[in-house]
């Protein structure tokens, strides 16, 4: 059952007034697959992400996650169903500590409320200790455990990117959306990132969909690549197929005039 899609976009369209940002795009992410969504600047990749996470409503079409339509659901509900994301420009809770950032990610998996801190203190303490323990495990996994008490905004850029992934992992996602995870990284860090993404997929048993401009990284890691340009899907396939696709070459390099 390798072909079972965990996420499926069916002719998804997004219009902002008269502008069609995304035009009937199809996309499939299989279980445990690492997929990529690529395209030139302004092609509509981030808009697609925003529709998957519920930040934008789709104009037409359908987004299906685990066999269920998630159109019209609120972003926090979609997170609870199992889709987590990171951001192109890092958006951590900067003045909270590294550990607290990850612990915040456990929000939808925990229950402590405003009243049972008084009426069920034992349960709350247990849940708190458990959350801390699990958060520390994630930090250890990402190699961030030595900076756990630092302010999130004060750690190095590459670490902040990892921390965002950590916060996303805390929501125990079935699908992880990475928005340009390699932006601002040097080639050594990129190599490590590829390893980390694979390791995350295998350890946490999830699917990954990434938007990325670094072609070497995308080609090296993705099992399936979807290319969009001007809001339309122009190609879909393995790295090799994409590299030899004329439309893709044209979109990136322009049409030859001879």
């Amino acid at each position: 059952m390798r072909d079972v899609a965990i996420l499926e976009l069916k002719e998804v369209t997004k219009k902002f007034g008269g502008l069609t940002a995304v035009d009937s795009v199809d996309l499939k992410v299989g279980e445990n697959q690492i997929c990529a969504l690529i395209g030139p600047n302004g092609a509509g990749k981030t808009t697609v992400f925003n529709m998957i996470t519920g930040a934008y409503q789709v104009t037409s079409g359908d987004v299906i996650f685990c066999g269920e339509s998630i159109c019209g659901k609120k972003p926090h509900e979609i997170v609870k169903l199992g889709i987590a994301r990171t951001f192109q420009n890092i958006r951590l809770f900067k003045s909270a500590s590294v550990l607290e950032n990850v612990m915040t990610g456990f929000h939808c998996k925990t229950k402590t409320g405003m009243f049972n801190v008084v009426f069920r203190p034992g349960m709350c303490r247990r849940e708190e200790a458990e959350t801390r323990q699990k958060a520390l495990e994630i930090l250890k996994f990402l190699g961030l455990d030595n900076v756990k008490d630092n302010e999130a905004g004060s750690i190095p850029y590459g670490h902040q990117r990892l921390l965002e992934i950590g916060r996303a992992l805390a929501t125990s996602p079935k699908l992880l959306l990475l928005d340009e995870p390699a932006a601002g990284m040097n080639s050594q860090e990129k190599k490590e990132l590829v390893e980390t993404i694979r390791k995350i997929r295998d350890t946490y048993n999830l699917a990954v969909l990434l938007v990325e401009h670094d072609m070497e990284l995308v080609m090296g890691i993705s099992e399936n690549i979807t290319v969009i340009n001007f809001g339309r899907r122009i190609a879909d396939g393995t790295a090799e197929e994409i590299q030899n696709n004329n439309d893709v070459i044209e979109a990136y390099l322009g049409r030859s005039e001879d």
Binding site: H76, V79, T104, G105, H107, C108, V117
Partner: protein, 328 residues
């Protein structure tokens, strides 16, 4: 760290705090000063209340006096007209301010930043005008007189000194509750909303309901303060719950320690003691008061508490390093 030393230091803390609380009334020379001390207590409750909403959740409120006033009026009305005792009035004040907090949250959810500040300020004005004009209920500008002292299980808190201990109970409970809550999932959700609204939502936090919770919680704190105020002063009138009071509440949190649990203790002391100490300046009093506050926030951005904490930390570390022979 070993659990034993933790428990020991906790016990030491409790003893020190209890000693300070018990000693204060013996050090106050007269009832005038006792009343100021009690007002500090009430403003501490107001300060920790606004800190939930503004300090932790990042929703600027310039209308806290409205919740304070509603709490005071509910108690005044329940006591003088309904003949109800302290605990019933307290619960009444908490429930009504909580509901009003939730109602205010609905329009407040749609705006942020300076617009939210204006909206809450407008809300404060509306409540003040209602207090003045809804004469059959609020007795208009004349206010409500002859509120009784609180009686709990036959014990009457009829002097300011007795009242002081009642206020301290609520200050301690208020601080303890916030301290516990802020370290749980709810507190982390508040902070996440303050830091990045959208990222909070995409981390699985229902931003809408948590903002409402912050509004309700801060309103309830103000309602408790209002109830205590009404029963201490025995008189409520719209003059008390003006815009200036909202500002002082906000300043109590800012000067003491924005987004800290115990900061408002220091804010309350500074905001209440300073104008009294400066009385010798006559007409210049409020000018100098304002200047000093400005200097405080410029010198201690984020409030004085974080600096006090750092200072204590440094001393403690020095002691420890002395004891451990220079390690750490």
């Amino acid at each position: 760290m070993a659990k034993k030393t933790n428990k020991k230091s906790l016990l030491a803390k409790i003893v020190i705090i209890a000693a300070i609380i018990i000693i204060i009334p013996f050090l106050t020379p007269n009832m005038y000063i006792m009343q100021i001390v009690n007002m500090i207590g009430i403003y501490i409750i107001l300060g920790i209340g606004i800190n939930v909403l503004t300090g932790f959740t990042g929703q600027l409120s310039l209308g806290q006096a409205a919740f304070f006033g509603i709490g005071a009026y509910v108690t005044a009305i329940m006591n003088t007209r309904g003949g109800m005792q302290f605990l019933a009035c307290l619960i009444g004040s908490m429930v009504i301010t909580g509901i009003v907090g939730a109602v205010l949250a609905v329009p407040a959810l749609k705006v942020k930043g300076s617009y939210l500040a204006l909206l809450t300020m407008g809300f404060g004005e509306i409540i003040r005008i209602v207090m003045i004009n809804w004469t059959p209920v609020t007795n208009g500008t004349a206010g409500i007189l002859e509120i009784e002292s609180p009686v709990i299980f036959g014990f009457s808190f009829d002097t300011l000194t007795k009242f002081y201990f009642l206020i301290m109970v609520f200050v301690i409970l208020g601080i303890l509750y916030e301290d516990i809550l802020i370290k749980t999932r709810t507190g982390r959700a508040f902070v996440a909303i303050r830091e990045d609204n959208e990222a909070a939502e995409l981390t699985g936090i229902n931003v809408t309901t948590y903002k409402i919770r912050a509004f309700v919680l801060s309103a309830v704190y103000s309602g408790i303060a209002g109830c205590l105020y009404a029963m201490m002063i025995k008189y409520v009138s719209p003059d008390t719950f003006v815009n200036n009071t909202s500002n002082i509440i906000l300043w109590t949190a800012i000067v003491g320690g924005f987004g800290t649990v115990v900061g408002p203790i220091f804010g309350g002391i500074i905001m209440q003691v300073l104008p009294e100490v400066l009385r010798f300046l006559g007409d210049w009093r409020l000018v100098i008061y304002g200047v000093i506050l400005l200097i405080v926030i410029l010198r201690f951005p984020g409030g004085v508490y974080p600096y006090i904490e750092k200072f204590i930390d440094r001393i403690r570390r020095r002691k420890k390093s002395d004891a451990a022979g220079g390690k750490g």
